[in-house]
């Protein structure tokens, strides 16, 4: 076998480079930097339980100095835990004029602090901010549990995207009263149905599911009931399935049962049906559900054959 000396030299050079990189002083410096950062973060966390008037100047200094965003983010969190008006003012200041990454963080920290005055200050920021700022403000309101602030944003939304983001947030917050108020407004949209489902509002969804004036909305509401789940939902979905002649409504009810995982209900419908096509559909649903009840049906069918 012919060995090329140049190739051997190149391999040796690469190996040598690898070992020198492993011992590179640059690597060591970065490790030290990491350690210093970690220590700074630990120091900031320790300041959370320190007297606030002592901690505040130190945290402020970190924010105004040349530190990484990770260290500054931690400083913002500590600031949110300092029960002094100056701390909230500083958070708002960063939220208004800080580096873009830190702005979002500062906004969320205002949510964590739950300070009413600072939260009120976020409304202006929402109005003048870009999408990132708006999302952060919604998150801050969610963290603070400020249902009304999110409702105001949804009610006064200037476009569908803004409305949807606020409604979704209300759903996550479980703000059923606010969502019902929005339903009464002219801004009603399908996103509200999803939000009703996420917030677990069975009563409103049931009402929409039984209202056949808007078939598309009705279908969405029936399916959304499945997300809410529970005994009441299962009973309602079976009722809807049985009481309708509409194939679309039946389809939606089955989707709802599939989502809620009500196997026994589907089996009950299967047993009650004398329509072969319907039986096949119900069997398909049970199979998709991964239900062992399919085996019962097979056993019964085999026993019947015998």
């Amino acid at each position: 076998m012919y060995i090329r000396p140049k190739a051997v030299l190149a391999i040796l050079a690469l190996l040598a480079m690898g070992s020198s990189l492993a011992q590179s002083p640059v690597l060591k410096v970065s490790e030290v930097a990491d350690e210093t950062e970690l220590l700074k973060i630990a120091a900031l966390e320790a300041l959370m339980s320190a007297p606030p008037e002592r901690a505040l100047p130190l945290v402020s200094k970190v924010l105004s100095s040349n530190n990484s965003n990770e260290v500054k983010s931690r400083a913002l969190f500590v600031l949110s835990q300092i029960d002094l008006p100056e701390a909230q003012s500083q958070l708002l200041e960063v939220a208004r004029a800080g580096d873009s990454e830190l702005r979002g963080e500062a906004i969320r920290m205002i949510g964590i602090s739950g300070d009413a005055e600072a939260l009120a200050g976020l409304a202006d920021l929402y109005g003048s901010g870009d999408e990132e700022v708006r999302d952060a403000v919604l998150e801050a309101y969610m963290i603070a549990g400020d249902d009304d602030a999110v409702f105001q944003i949804a009610a006064n939304a200037s476009d569908a995207g803004e409305f949807e983001a606020a409604v979704e947030m209300l759903g996550v917050m479980g703000a059923q009263d606010e969502l019902r108020r929005l339903r009464e407004s002219s801004n009603f949209s399908n996103i509200l149905i999803e939000a009703f489902a996420i917030s677990g509002d069975f009563d409103t969804l049931r009402e929409l599911a039984l209202d056949g004036s808007d078939p598309e909305r009705q279908a969405r509401a029936i399916e959304a009931l499945g997300i809410v789940g529970g005994e009441n939902v299962n009973t309602t979905l079976i009722e809807i399935y049985r009481s309708t002649d509409s194939a679309d409504v039946k389809e939606s009810a089955l989707e709802g049962l599939l989502i809620s995982g009500h196997e026994e209900g589907v089996l009950e419908l299967y047993r009650a049906s004398d329509n072969a096509r319907e039986k096949r559909k119900l069997l398909e649903i049970l199979t998709v559900m991964g239900s062992d009840l399919v085996l019962d049906i097979i056993d019964a069918a085999l026993a019947g054959d015998r």
């Binding site: 030290v32 350690e35 210093t36 970690l38 220590l39 700074k40 630990a42 120091a43 900031l44 966390e45 320790a46 300041l47 959370m48 339980s49 320190a50 007297p51 002592r54 901690a55 130190l58 200094k61 970190v62 100095s65 040349n66 530190n67």
Partner: protein, 165 residues
Amino acid sequence: MKTVLRIVVVVVLIAACIGSESLGAVFDGPVDDGWHTWQVRAADGGELQIYVSIESGEPVQFRLRSNSICSGNFDVDATDLGFIDVDESIDWLQTYIEPRSRLGSDIIMAISLHSGARPVVILATIVKTQTDREIREEALFWLGQSDSDAAFDVFDRLLSGNASM
């Protein structure tokens, strides 16, 4: 006259010994297996009662009780070593701050609860010199609990990025 003076000196010395907190004896720390306890002047102005369980000559458990802290169950049969000088108590505790020791956190807490300026100096030294991150973080936490200028000077230097502290 000389005899009278000698008697006076002896009386004064005895009184001084009786008045001293550790009765003049050097505190070597508990050695025998089992629970031991002693008291020191606490940072909160009251007394700090330290309980330590020794096994094979080494501390294996700490419990602390003062006006501001109460860690663990104190329903143990402990040998009472009496009221000990703060420095002596700290000296003994300090020998057991090691990363290898799972008691590092307990010991740092115990030291930080002693009265005087020395706990802050020790905590600052731990932050500066210890390689074990958990121990350093523990020391930082207790520095944050101190209201002393020296403690916040440590934070200031650390957060200003002064590597030499």
